[in-house]
């Protein structure tokens, strides 16, 4: 945190409601878009946790889902395509007391920004990354994405997708994410619970959300049929079983796949030198004499 800085005091202890987290700007999304469900789950999760609006930063890249910051009354950063995770990393390292959410889509996080994802996960920086996966590029109108199904015909893949779709949950698990969950935008209550847990978790939380694009690639029927909760006796602390489950193709499992406690990058970084010194140029320069 900046030198000598203190969190701004909160005026009154009045409970915040869902409405308090709305910016008042109307989402630009198409009717039926899954992202509405995710946005509403986000409001609910923040209200559940009673987080102060000026202590929350929502960071996004580019894409339909990356518009989220404008619909929130919290601090926000709408950056460039693919760089939401490193921007959020800087925010969190600068001030570990902030709650930092990264909201984006499958293009932002699994294509142009995929190079940052394993590093954020491996560092275990305390961010909650919510990926709204609609398996298409909505903002640029219906090209295929890294999570599109094989055979999916789109404007950019007129002969059908021939690339194996990326498995975002597997990607997160195999790179050291310490909280990995999947939700479905059409089940906002369960999703809210996943987001609450993700935000509470100390470390890199990844919430993969199947969030269909009603306009260009409507998969509601598919997911209504294929989603199923993880087994009731699911052990969320077993990485190998979680990976095996992530590889399952018959069903799309919802719930918390995995969770572990591991030191958090920004706290460790801040504790390398417990004794802080004031910088004094003359003292510092003595090493060069």
């Amino acid at each position: 945190m900046p030198d000598g800085a203190k969190l701004a005091p909160v005026a009154e202890a009045e409970a915040l409601t869902l409405k308090d987290y709305k910016s008042g700007d109307k989402p630009i999304w198409c009717p039926g878009c899954g992202d509405f469900g995710v946005l509403s789950a986000t409001y609910k999760a923040l209200a559940t946790l009673q987080l102060q609006r000026h202590e929350v930063v929502v960071v996004a890249g580019i894409g339909c889902s990356s518009r989220t910051p404008y619909f929130m009354s919290t601090f926000g950063f709408h950056g460039v395509h693919g760089r939401s995770l490193p921007i959020a990393t800087g925010v969190k390292l600068a001030n570990p007391d902030l709650t930092v959410l990264v909201m984006g889509g499958d293009g932002d996080l699994m294509a142009i920004g995929a190079g940052h994802f394993p590093h954020a996960a491996a560092r275990n920086i305390d961010l909650t990354c919510v990926m709204m996966d609609n398996q298409t590029y909505g903002l640029t109108k219906a090209q295929s994405s890294p999570t599109s199904f094989i055979g999916h015909k789109s404007k950019s893949t007129p002969y059908g997708v021939i690339t194996k779709p990326m498995n975002a949950v597997l990607f997160a698990l195999s790179n050291g994410a310490t909280f990995v969950a999947r939700g479905y935008s059409a089940r906002p209550n369960e999703l809210t619970q996943l987001m609450v847990q993700g935000i509470q978790h100390k470390g890199f939380s990844f919430v993969h959300v199947q969030s269909p694009c009603a306009e260009f690639f409507n998969t509601y029927d598919y997911y209504d049929e294929h989603v199923t909760d993880l087994p009731e006796d699911w052990d969320r602390h077993d990485l190998k079983t979680a990976i095996a489950m992530a590889l399952t193709e018959e069903k799309v499992h919802l719930g918390v796949f995995y969770q572990e406690e591991r030191p958090v990058f920004e706290r460790t970084s801040w504790e390398f030198e417990p004794e802080r010194q004031q910088f004094d140029l003359e003292t510092y320069l003595k090493r060069f004499s």
Binding site: A5, A11, V57, F75, V80, T89, G90, V91, L93, A94
Partner: protein, 577 residues
């Protein structure tokens, strides 16, 4: 009469080891005695093996450039002799390993010493070759051996057996010179014993950044900027800061933008290839109005180019790189000493004007060391700035991107201010919400550029655009960055010969100090722009901004200008006038 301002060059294969460290140790010992030094080095791009050379100019007066050629060449091997003998000045000295180098009869004085054989057979200490050479250098050129002994002791203080072996090697070399009949005139007199610092450009940039209040750094390793990352990694945690080794340069600048948005003064450092990757984010920081400082230690390009050699080839990229119209500030220090001030200035301008500031260094400035005078912190402190915050504004009334005359609007910090807003790369209204109308884009673009004009008024002064030489000149030289010393020395030489010349060396390249430059150009019959690039990038920039058509002196090849090269051009221009 003895010469007490001379240049020693040491060359050899890095596989043998000790080429650079011999030079560094000699330099450090001399600097501690109060001599002024100016080093230059090139590394091979190979990790082990390949030819490396190190050069130090040493004097008991101030030295501002690497000088011309070399006066003393120490050749570890035949390759070093072959590569550098052409640069050895008339009357110079060749010191060589007499078993490994076969010099032809030449125009220089020769001292052959079987360095490796002595180390192996007499000292039974092969790794002591470079300390043995130090002893020989001290004996031949008048450096008190006590200063070298002290350095050996401190260097190996944790390993007593190595102290003894090295002292023995040092002393052997020193005594050996009594057998050599000295025929040259190079001899260091006594220096003033004033304590100075010896540091590189990267050292000074890092120190300046810490002084300015930089507490967040992110970088990706790249020559010749990596040592800024390495120093920040160890230093920042001591001063309440944090350093991130990023996964690539985009992540480095993105996280710097994030940290600055969250209230930290933040910086990244890179070289050309990394700077290219950062370009999109450069535009974001300008559009979202987030202060950042980016160091570009230029190297020879394009593409991977010559990673360990210098070029002033990134000026266009710094000035114009990126899509769309957006303002950025570009600064360039002229010497190691100047790196402090320019870095503190860079942070001050970034914070005050909430925009990206690029510090253009280059391989020679980043890696060379100079003896620098004690830093005057009183003069620096006025440059330290804090950004404008929404103090006293009701959160409901807060306009992050408020339109006003100088373009600077209050920036709330998450957690510290109760004024949430969205920082954005989309065109936006005063609140920061997307607004893509023609009038908004016009008004907001004008707001962002207004900051550049406000910054220009602030930097258009003598301090930041120093002038040197005659008031009315037949030839005026405008330089930028690390060429300063060679230009200054060439101007001195020309003035000494009666030429009417002058020089100006602005530290801020965007916005240009237009009034100072116009006045300077108006006082000179012709203008010359020397720069280490092919296209004449600064000459272009001056032409585009001021409408002048300067003469050009361009050098590429990976090495800096020598004073002699600039002087030769001055003579050529003025004798043909």
């Amino acid at each position: 009469m003895p010469r007490d301002d001379f240049i020693i060059r040491i060359g050899g294969d890095t596989a043998i080891g000790g080429v650079i460290s011999t030079g560094e140790n000699f330099t450090l010992a001399a600097a501690r005695l109060g001599f002024h030094t100016f080093t230059f080095r090139t590394y091979p791009a190979e990790i082990k093996g390949g030819h490396a050379w190190f050069q130090v100019r040493i004097s008991n007066r101030s030295v501002v450039s690497l000088g011309d050629g070399c006066d003393i060449l120490i050749a570890f091997d035949q390759e070093a002799y072959e590569l550098h003998r052409g640069d050895l000045n008339d009357g110079g000295v060749l010191i060589y390993d007499s078993d490994l180098v076969q010099p032809e009869d030449g125009r220089f004085i020769r001292y052959g010493v079987p360095f490796q054989k002595i180390a192996r057979q007499e000292l039974d200490f092969v790794r002591g070759t470079n300390v043995l050479i130090l002893g020989v250098m001290a004996g031949l050129f008048g450096l008190a051996p006590a200063s070298l002994e002290e350095m050996v002791r401190s260097r190996y203080k944790r390993r007593a057996e190595l102290v003894e072996k090295n002292l023995e090697a040092l002393n052997y070399g020193y005594q050996y010179t009594k057998k050599i009949q000295k025929q040259d005139k190079f001899w260091l007199g006594t220096a003033d014993h004033v304590a100075r610092l010896i540091m590189s450009g990267n050292d000074a940039i890092t120190a300046g950044a810490l002084y300015a209040g930089c507490r967040y750094f992110a970088g990706y390793p790249i020559t010749p900027a990596s040592d800024i990352l390495e120093t920040m990694a160890i230093q920042l945690p001591r001063f309440g800061g944090v350093c991130l080794q990023a996964e690539d340069e985009m992540a480095a600048l993105a996280s710097v933008i994030g940290a600055s948005y969250a209230g930290m003064k933040a910086m990244t450092a890179t070289s050309g290839p990394g700077f290219s990757l950062m370009t999109e984010l450069l535009g974001l920081s300008s559009m979202a109005e987030v202060p950042v400082v980016i160091v570009d230690a230029q190297r020879s390009g394009p593409s991977t180019g010559m990673p360990t050699k210098l070029e002033q080839g990134d000026l266009f990229q710094a000035l114009y790189g990126g899509h769309g119209d957006f303002p950025r500030i570009v600064v360039a220090p002229g010497s190691v000493q100047n790196c402090f001030r320019v870095t503190v200035l860079a942070f001050g301008l970034a914070e005050k004007y909430q925009c990206p500031v690029i510090i253009l260094s280059d391989q020679s400035l980043s890696h060379r060391t100079e003896t620098v005078e004690k830093v005057d912190t009183e003069r620096l402190s006025g440059l330290v700035m804090q950004r404008l915050r929404p103090n006293g504004v009701e959160p409901g009334e807060y306009l992050r991107y408020q339109l006003n005359d100088n373009g600077v609007s209050p920036m709330a910090v998450p957690g510290l201010d109760t004024h949430p807003y969205v920082a954005t790369g989309l065109e936006h209204d005063e609140r920061g919400h997307p607004r893509l109308s023609p009038t908004t884009h016009e008004a907001m673009t004008a707001k962002r550029f207004a900051k550049l004009e406000a910054a220009r008024m602030e930097i258009d002064n003598e301090e930041l655009a120093p002038r040197y030489g005659e008031e009315k000149a037949d030839l005026g030289i405008i330089g930028w960055g690390a060429t300063q010393g060679s230009i200054r020395e060439a101007v001195d030489r020309a003035l000494g010969k009666g030429y009417r010349v002058a020089a100006m060396h602005p530290r801020v390249l965007n916005p240009l100090p237009e009034e100072r430059l116009r006045e300077f150009i108006g006082s000179c019959k012709q203008v010359l722009v020397p720069e280490v690039n092919y296209q004449g990038q600064f000459a272009h920039h001056l032409a585009a901004t001021l409408g002048v058509r300067p003469l050009r002196l361009n050098k590429i090849g990976g090495l800096p200008f020598t004073p002699g090269e600039v002087f030769a051009k001055i003579e050529e221009v003025l004798n043909h006038a």
